[in-house]
């Protein structure tokens, strides 16, 4: 009686009743089983925080989204999903003496019946090393097409941003087409490459440029976010 919300559980449930209710609610949510995230303490990580912002915007309870861009995607989306980065390789010296970082995301976990309408790769850039002060940097993202043992991977240019070396903040790259390609052809998902150059084309060490990677704070970890439109009606299986 002291509950602010009067729960539907008016009496103490027996264990088997509780399990039955859990099973039914999972069924309503379209989940085959209760998820067991391997790091439940990660709610303060960048992706959950970003997703919580979206949730608040969707529920019209909290602050509005930072960009109209996101709002449009969100209004149209039935589902939004963020993906954790699985691999991060720093290649300080490639065969062409180019600095780059690699990222991989597993897009095979997408529930059935969902089609990607937009996808973004988000990475945080802190202020660059002092020696780059007052210069403009070009951050470019590539899709890895083919990998070789003895030479640089074949890549496809996806998007680039020009930023001031002294600036800090999230960089957002549109990778919608690539994500769709990976959903259709998971075996061709060889990840993304990120490079930083000066305007005159000189490759810069990723860490010196201020790009935050796996060793950075949890709240600034790179992630991929995809917006989905349901292509069918969710039907629960007949029991």
């Amino acid at each position: 009686d002291n509950h602010v919300h009067s729960s539907f559980i008016y009496r103490r449930l027996r264990n088997h009743e509780r399990r039955e209710i859990q099973r039914e609610i999972l069924s309503i949510l379209g989940l085959p089983h209760r998820p067991r995230p391997f790091s439940p303490g990660k709610q303060a990580s960048s992706a959950p925080l970003f997703m919580l912002d979206l949730y608040n915007a969707m529920s019209a309870q909290g602050p509005a989204l930072t960009t109209a861009h996101d709002t449009n995607f969100l209004n149209d989306a039935d589902m939004v999903m963020s993906f954790v980065n699985l691999v991060e390789k720093d290649k300080d010296f490639s065969h062409q003496r180019r600095h780059y970082k690699e990222f991989r995301f597993d897009l095979t976990q997408i529930p059935d019946g969902e089609a990607v309408t937009a996808a973004e790769f988000r990475i945080y850039k802190d202020r660059s090393h002092a020696r780059y002060d007052n210069i403009t940097l070009k951050v470019t993202i590539y899709q890895v097409i083919k990998e070789y043992q003895n030479k640089d991977a074949e890549t496809f240019l996806l998007d680039s941003k020009k930023v001031q070396a002294s600036d800090g903040g999230w960089l957002v790259f549109d990778i919608t087409a690539t994500s769709n390609h990976w959903v259709m052809n998971p075996q061709q998902n060889l990840g993304l490459q990120l490079c930083v150059e000066t305007i005159d084309g000189r490759s810069i060490n990723i860490k010196s440029a201020g790009i935050v990677g796996r060793n950075g704070p949890q709240s600034k970890q790179p992630f991929l976010v995809a917006f989905f439109k349901a292509s069918g009606v969710l039907l629960r299986s007949v029991r």
């Binding site: 009686d1 509950h3 999903m81």
Partner: protein, 139 residues
């Protein structure tokens, strides 16, 4: 007549005539006169009570509501009723043992969003349609 007498439920009184914050008690359905008209009742599904805080980030739960009560003739003035529910009521009056009364069921439903982790610690924000009863009526 259904809904003529409104029971005076104590706490959590709502201005909305359809809402009731109490679950029905065993004695409520003893006689036809005591039955309440079809209306919306409070029902809170608590993800916290289910022990799911480790994977559901938000919300802690949601007010789902449910519809319960009698659909008797004349159908309550403030209650939505389908045309067929009226016919069903008339047929029930003619053949009470063979034909049931119309059902008290949701007429408008709202969506909720749920934010949760999957097994791989990816985060999913999903909109679930038809989860919250906005209004009840006779079908």
């Amino acid at each position: 007549a259904a809904g003529g007498k409104k029971k005076n439920h104590n706490r959590n009184k709502s201005n909305n005539q359809q809402e009731s914050s109490k679950a029905p008690r065993a004695g409520d359905y003893n006689t036809s006169e005591q039955k309440q008209a079809c209306k919306k009742h409070e029902l809170y599904v608590s993800f916290r009570d289910l022990g799911w805080q480790d994977w559901i980030i938000a919300p802690e739960g949601y007010a789902a509501f449910y519809c319960d009560g009698e659909c008797s003739f004349p159908l309550n003035a403030h209650m939505n009723a389908t045309n067929h529910a009226i016919v069903q009521t008339l047929v029930h009056l003619m053949f009470p043992d063979n034909v049931p009364k119309p059902c008290c069921a949701p007429t408008k439903l709202n969506a909720i969003s749920v934010l949760y982790f999957d097994d791989s610690s990816n985060v999913i924000l999903k909109k679930y349609r038809n989860m919250v009863v906005r209004s009840c009526g006779c079908h």
